[in-house]
């Protein structure tokens, strides 16, 4: 399911690499992509662990790739320690679950009806927490800002999308087809994390002065919005999660591509330095405007449809509080996105030199622009794709899907 998304992602992302890295870099990126495709199609707990570590391994090397840069090394260390911690949680959780059920394969677990013993509850909670670490949901987000800030920007772009997509694929499969019986329990986990992520991500993002940190916090908030779809816990919820991931992919990737292009010629990621970008490079400023507005959820861009889809899925389940928080967070997020827009469009540039955008980056930006606009204006085929994707996914656990509360 997510493999489709990931293939698109990897190809775009590959073009996005530019020439100042060595050959190993490409190898690591490709390896991570491969790992993540495995991860997305993992079908038992053991392979979840193996593929997750496989994917993280690549990132452990990629994040501190700029050896001479202190920040990059710091980011790498932080990411590594917290990542290993999450892996430990995952293993512990898996062992508890195995101890209680004696099974590791998702579909078999779904078939055997079991009561929720304390050991099982702790085990599953730990597994979900480890995946929550991967997607960077609120109480487990602490690695995100520093890692995003320090890592080389292309890696950040990669890190901000691909592992989240893969982790959501696992979460969907686990929660929707293996644990539908425990929905009343895990739904509270989802609701809690969603509210925390949206509020925390958005409110802290207001104070950010660095564009990468801003995107990091806004990413936490976006994950919160996706979790609304997870909390809905229905087939439509699953579709909306996938669709939202797709919209998030284009907008976020595009925004990071602009950041890369900008920092290549100015060596800066400070929002203040974006002043007058509209005069320096109308193309970059316009693209950034589109991507940020899409992230904020403004029609006619992709983000709006994604949010609407998630909200519609949630309203069917009567999750009014979640939707209210989601709507409030739209307003908050609009504020800090507009601050960036203000810098780009309203302020005058301090250095009027035009900015050169290299070819491959331009291609990435164009593809993201096209994706953001087309998904917003004509979403039907993509929604059908998301539905088809969850259709495939239902074959993985055909028996369990019957018990899903539609």
């Amino acid at each position: 399911m997510s493999a489709g998304i990931l293939v698109i992602l990897s190809s775009i992302d590959f073009v996005g690499r530019f020439r100042f890295f060595k050959a190993e870099y490409y190898f690591l990126v490709m390896m991570t992509v491969l790992a993540m495709m495995f991860m997305a199609s993992a079908n038992d707990l053991l392979s979840v662990f193996v593929t997750l570590e496989f994917a993280s391994f690549g990132f452990y090397v990629l994040v501190p790739y700029l050896r001479e840069d202190l920040r990059s090394s710091e980011a790498g260390l932080k990411f590594f320690i917290l990542g290993v911690f999450a892996a430990a949680m995952l293993v512990f959780g898996i062992s508890l679950v195995y101890g209680e059920t004696g099974q590791l394969i998702f579909s078999e677990m779904a078939e055997a009806p079991i009561d929720l013993t304390p050991g099982l509850a702790v085990g599953w909670t730990l597994i979900i927490a480890a995946l929550g670490f991967k997607i960077g949901a609120a109480p487990l987000h602490s690695w995100i800002p520093d890692t995003y800030h320090g890592a080389p920007t292309p890696v950040t772009a990669f890190l901000s999308i691909a592992p989240k997509g893969a982790a959501f694929a696992i979460l969907l499969r686990m929660l929707f087809s293996t644990l539908p019986g425990f929905k009343p329990e895990w739904v509270w986990l989802m609701i809690g994390t969603a509210i925390l992520s949206m509020l925390y991500g958005n409110i802290v993002a207001i104070a950010q002065r660095n564009i990468k940190r801003l995107l990091a916090y806004s990413g936490i908030a976006q994950i919160g919005t996706i979790l609304i779809g997870m909390a809905a816990g229905t087939r439509q919820g699953a579709d909306s999660v996938l669709f939202y991931l797709l919209t998030y992919l284009f907008a976020n990737l595009g925004a990071f591509a602009v950041v890369i292009a900008f920092s290549q010629s100015t060596n800066s990621d400070e929002i203040e330095d974006y002043s007058g970008l509209n005069r320096r490079s109308p193309f970059l400023a316009f693209s950034m405007l589109v991507f940020l507005l899409s992230l904020a959820g403004v029609p006619p861009l992709a983000g709006f449809i994604g949010k609407l889809y998630v909200f519609v899925a949630a309203i069917h389940e009567g999750l009014y509080t979640l939707i209210t928080v989601g709507l409030i967070s739209i307003i908050i997020s609009m504020y800090y996105y507009l601050i960036v827009v203000k810098n780009m469009y309203i302020n005058e540039p301090t250095d009027p030199a035009p900015i050169f955008v290299p070819g491959p980056l331009k291609a990435v930006i164009f593809i993201s622009l096209a994706g953001t606009v087309i998904l917003g204006v004509w979403p039907q085929p993509f929604m059908a794709f998301a539905v088809a994707a969850t259709g495939i996914f239902s074959h993985l656990g055909p028996t369990s899907l019957v018990s899903l509360p539609f």
Binding site: N278, P299, H316, M334, K342, Y345, P379
Partner: protein, 529 residues
Amino acid sequence: MTESYLLSMILFAPFAGAVVLLFISNRRPLLVRQVAVLFAGISFVASFILLFAFDWQKGGYQFQQNYLWSEQLGIQFHLGVDGIGVPMVLASSILLFTGVFISWHIKDRTKEFYAFLLVLAGATIGVYVSLDLVFLYFFYEMSVIPMYPLLGIWGSHTKGYLEMTSAEGRDLRDSPGFIFNYSKEYAAMKLTLFLSAGAVLALMGILLIYKFSGLQTFDIPVLAEKAHFDGTVATIIWLLCFFGFATIAPLWPLHSWSPVGHAAAPAATSMLHAGVLMKLGHFSIIRTDFQILPETTNTLMPIAAILCIGSILYGGYVAYYARDTKYVIGYSSSSHMGYVFLGMAALDYISLTGAVLYMFAHSLATGMLFAMAGWVYDQTHSRDIPSLGGLAAKMPFVAGAFLIACMASIGMPGTVNFVAEVMIVLGSWGRYPVQTIIAVLGIVLTMAYLFRMMRGLFYGPLSELGHHAHDTRGWVDRLPLAIMMGISIIFGIFPGQLLHVIRSGVDPILARIIDVAPIATQVGGSVLP
């Protein structure tokens, strides 16, 4: 068959124009303007055709186009106009077309300006022609966003803002004590956030309509026909939609973004903002609350009748004391929007028709006033009434046009505003006599502040600031004013077609509201609810 594409043409011409503009270099400003005129002109001409092609005897929704947009969510791209949509579409395209000429002299980033302006106008037209709740919201939110760059880039600070820098820096300037002294960035942000907040309230209402109707559709005609809500749910939905959309209307006490935004905006944006953007609120309330929740409207609409007193009196009072020309006009339009709410609240055939006609009339009158306030500002670089004066000698055409615009705004017989005002007053008298008396007082107040502004700007000794000012030159500057004056007067004398069209839209809506639970609309009903 070609007729059925008329709405798409009106709607998509501005967007197409904006896209074409993206590919034109900023070094060719004349070409940019010509393209903008061309695409705005298509909408302009097509919406006149729409007015006269609309069959008012048949009524109902006409020129419908319906495409499935999203199967999963039950969204349809459903276009269509009824008698209420037609005049508003016409007003939007008139203001867009004239606005393009009004901003002819903008030199900084011309291309971007016109692109945003076209998107803004196109999105407002979109609201007036959509018959699907999601698209109503879609275009509504889309029309709010271009306001941010339009105000921020091409807007202006309030007079005195820049002189307020103290030795300590910006503290003094940003302190709340200096009311009416705002930077354009502040105004832009306030406007965008306020309107988006209103929009999400309404979106919550729309989602609840979707959930509780149980019909899996956002289609307005279908919902109006089949959906039924009762009890608390209906009240909550009604309140969410009402206050969500009343934010943009702007109903007192949710109005505070509006004058600030008016003052900061460039002339053409103020025109569209006051002329059509604000009416999105009333229009959307009619579409959601009036059409989908008729019973609740009957019981809750007195809320509007009470709040509109605040709008009329407070707006008029502040307008009288404001020194800044654009604040005067800005507060006057929030005051005038109170009349529309009064006309709507009375739930009477005559007053609601009057309210819709007033929306149309007000957009022309305020459009003219803002256009000329913008011209005066361009010439003198001041909007401070006491420091201006005697401009009639320098710009006789503008002074004359300004007088006519004031007349129209007050509602002199001969302008379309008169017809509308009389209808609102007549229609509301039966149900809300107190409010009607206040509304009439409001007209007197309007006269007071507009003539005060008129005298301050154009008569008396010529001020220093006006020495280098000159009148409008050539047809480019005069055409838009002439168009707006002409339309205002022609429809003032011959309101026939327009009234018939509006009436055909108002009748079925009100019939449902009144028939569901008959109320006392006769004289002698309660004074206040």
